[in-house]
């Protein structure tokens, strides 16, 4: 923002006499207190809900009247073959989609590099403005668009395919479980690619132009300039985002999968977050809580691991 922050403030001596500062420090705290309470209620209090994982809890019956069962719900994950199968299936989906997400996280990098190569400024602006729109609509809306475009009976894509004679009858893109991982990642990037590229575009704009001019004088080709100047310039940004997504490996979020799930594709689309929702609404609260709890713990552990890695490699923490 142009004005140096933090350091400047710190060098300024407090102007208030000591007595008034002591009074003020409590006054400030009291002003913040209502907001801290809200934070506590909505972010910290839910952790107390983990206790339900250790009871045979049924919604509607008070916890004090339900039997304590210790680690029963955690043990069923490994001891009950059906349950183990379910958990493994869901883990497979989670790992598959998160891995696809990690591998394809170079897409916005490529997008940004190629977009800066476009010569006409108006076209860059045009592309950038329009491709960020999908980021601002909900997954329900994305699904509604997908529904209109791809549904079997009246979707424009199937209509065109049938008219062109590519297929005999409409292909049910939305209800098929065979390509769902790829379909999900494709929709994800349709929604996020333009937006995800913004940070990289900024990183590229921040690269010293003299580097390019010098390389030009030395006769470097465009690809050599990209490889030796642009790519090193945006690697730090890429690295931070990559580490953050490693920290979020088990948190796919559920909105996208919730919107796109149906009876046909359920087996392949259920990631952990969605699975937890589905079992809870099949009224198995304690098991859902147990899975939720394990997921939160694994997720925090991954984040710390990513942070440690970041400190080791680039001497800077990501959180």
């Amino acid at each position: 923002m142009g004005v140096p922050s933090g350091k400047l403030l710190r060098s300024v001596k407090p102007v208030h006499p000591t007595g008034r500062r002591i009074q003020n420090k409590h006054k400030l705290f009291l002003m913040a207190l209502p907001f801290l309470l809200i934070t506590f209620i909505f972010y910290y209090l839910p952790i107390s809900g983990w206790i339900y994982a250790f009871y045979d809890f049924i919604p509607g019956i008070p916890l004090s009247d339900t039997p304590y069962v210790g680690l029963k719900w955690f043990r069923t994950m490994v001891e009950n073959p059906t349950q183990t199968g379910e958990v493994l299936r869901v883990l497979k989906n989670t790992v598959a989609m998160s891995s696809l997400g990690l591998v394809t996280s170079v897409f916005p990098v490529i997008f940004a590099i190629l977009l800066t190569e476009v010569k006409a400024g108006w076209y860059r602006k045009f592309v950038q403005t329009l491709t960020t729109i999908p980021n601002f609509i909900s997954w329900i809306l994305v699904y509604a668009l997908a529904f209109s475009l791809f549904s079997v009976d009246n979707g424009v894509v199937n209509n065109i395919l049938v008219q062109l004679g590519v297929v005999d009858e409409g292909f049910n893109f939305l209800a098929s479980s065979s390509h769902i991982w790829v379909t999900m990642i494709a929709w994800y990037w349709w929604k996020s690619l333009g937006w995800g590229a913004i940070l990289y575009l900024a990183a590229i704009a921040g690269i010293d132009q003299e580097l390019y001019e010098a390389a030009e004088v030395d006769g470097a080709s465009r690809f050599r300039k990209i490889w030796h100047i642009t790519v090193p310039g945006i690697i730090p940004t890429f690295f931070v985002l990559l580490l953050l997504s490693i920290g979020n490996f088990v948190n796919n979020g559920m909105e996208q999968y919730f919107a796109f799930q149906n009876a046909m594709n359920k087996d392949a689309i259920e990631v952990l977050d969605l699975y937890v929702y589905n079992i809870a609404f099949a009224n198995n609260f304690p098991f859902a809580t147990a899975v939720s709890m394990l997921k939160s713990i694994v997720s925090v552990a991954l984040l710390f691991a990513a942070n440690t890695l970041s400190k080791a490699v680039r001497d800077e923490s990501i959180i």
């Binding site: 300024v12 913040a32 809900g49 476009v118």
Partner: protein
């Protein structure tokens, strides 16, 4: 001019054949992707304003035909829909005002070194971005707090949004401290300094937060799916989701609604209702987006520097 491209100087004046080919390819690729980003919206729009017969037969692909606006006037009469629109508007307006106010005030308070326990409180707010107790423990908590089937469930949990607080705090720290000092020497208390100095100076970042929060509120639907069973709390997003998944009930809704089937040519079908409702939900965002695009970009940039 987009701020991102400032300082990008075109380096080559004359195109070599290889360059021309390369330029051609990336122009086409970006053109196709851009088209794929906007065509779905356009497709839906032209279908909702074209004759429903032609639309149902799949004739409307590139431009509207036999334009009419019956779909919109009729869909708004579906029972529950206009109420859901009101719920969506209310939660967007009230939720946004509260979170912007809270983020501004708390962000400002957190810049005050003399606050008792400042570091601990600030960190405990920020760290909530990186963990959550999980969906079900959260649901049980909300249930125990009687926030199921309750409008407050839309507003209270979003008041504290750590990311917004970081944005404001960073911004306030960049304001020269002399401004605030001169005011407090003149006898202004924290509230007065906040209102007459901090708020006017942080308007750009508050605008960014406002637009982010408003879009998030408008787009939320998971909270409705979890917490609300009474139809009077349903939002537009949630109704749309129901329409997409329950075509049989939607067909019944159309049959039972008066004057839904009035004109034969533009009879409402589940598809036309779905498309029209989708358009109604998406339009506010499409209308707002061009005016606020720069705020979105600014938000992600500041967030990236700090976050």
């Amino acid at each position: 001019m987009n701020p991102l491209f400032k300082g990008v100087i075109p380096l080559r004046k004359k195109l070599k054949p290889g360059d021309a080919l390369f330029q051609g390819i990336i122009y086409v690729l970006f053109g196709l992707f851009t088209l794929s980003c906007i065509y779905p919206f356009y497709y839906l729009f032209i279908n909702t304003i074209s004759s429903n017969d032609l639309s149902a037969a799949g004739y409307i692909k590139f431009y509207p035909r036999e334009i009419h606006f019956d779909n919109y006037s009729k869909v708004l009469r579906i029972s529950g829909l206009s109420h859901a629109a009101l719920v969506s508007v209310y939660r967007t307006v009230i939720g946004t005002l509260l979170t912007v106010g809270a983020s501004a005030f708390l962000g400002y308070l957190f810049t005050k070194k003399e606050m008792w326990g400042r570091q601990i409180w600030y960190r405990s707010v920020v760290v909530t971005m990186y963990f959550s107790a999980g969906l079900i423990p959260w649901y049980i908590t909300m249930h125990n707090l009687h926030l199921t089937n309750n409008y407050l469930a839309y507003i209270l949990p979003t008041i504290i949004t750590p990311f917004n607080i970081i944005l404001v705090k960073t911004f306030v720290e960049a304001i020269p401290p002399s401004l605030e000092e001169s005011a407090s020497i003149d006898g202004a208390g924290y509230l007065r300094v906040f209102w007459s100095i901090i708020v006017p100076l942080t308007t750009p970042i508050l605008a960014t937060i406002t637009i982010f929060s408003a879009v998030n509120q408008w787009n939320s639907f998971i909270d409705t799916a979890f917490l609300m069973t009474d139809t009077k709390y349903f939002t537009l997003q949630f109704l749309l989701w129901r329409y997409l998944n329950e075509s049989s009930s939607l067909a019944a809704l159309i049959r039972n609604s008066p004057d839904m089937a009035a004109s034969v040519q533009n009879m409402q079908t589940p598809t036309s209702v779905r498309m029209t409702v989708t358009m109604i939900v998406v339009l506010p965002i499409l209308i707002v987006y061009p005016f606020f695009q720069r705020f979105f970009v600014k938000g992600i940039m500041i967030g990236a520097v700090k976050g």
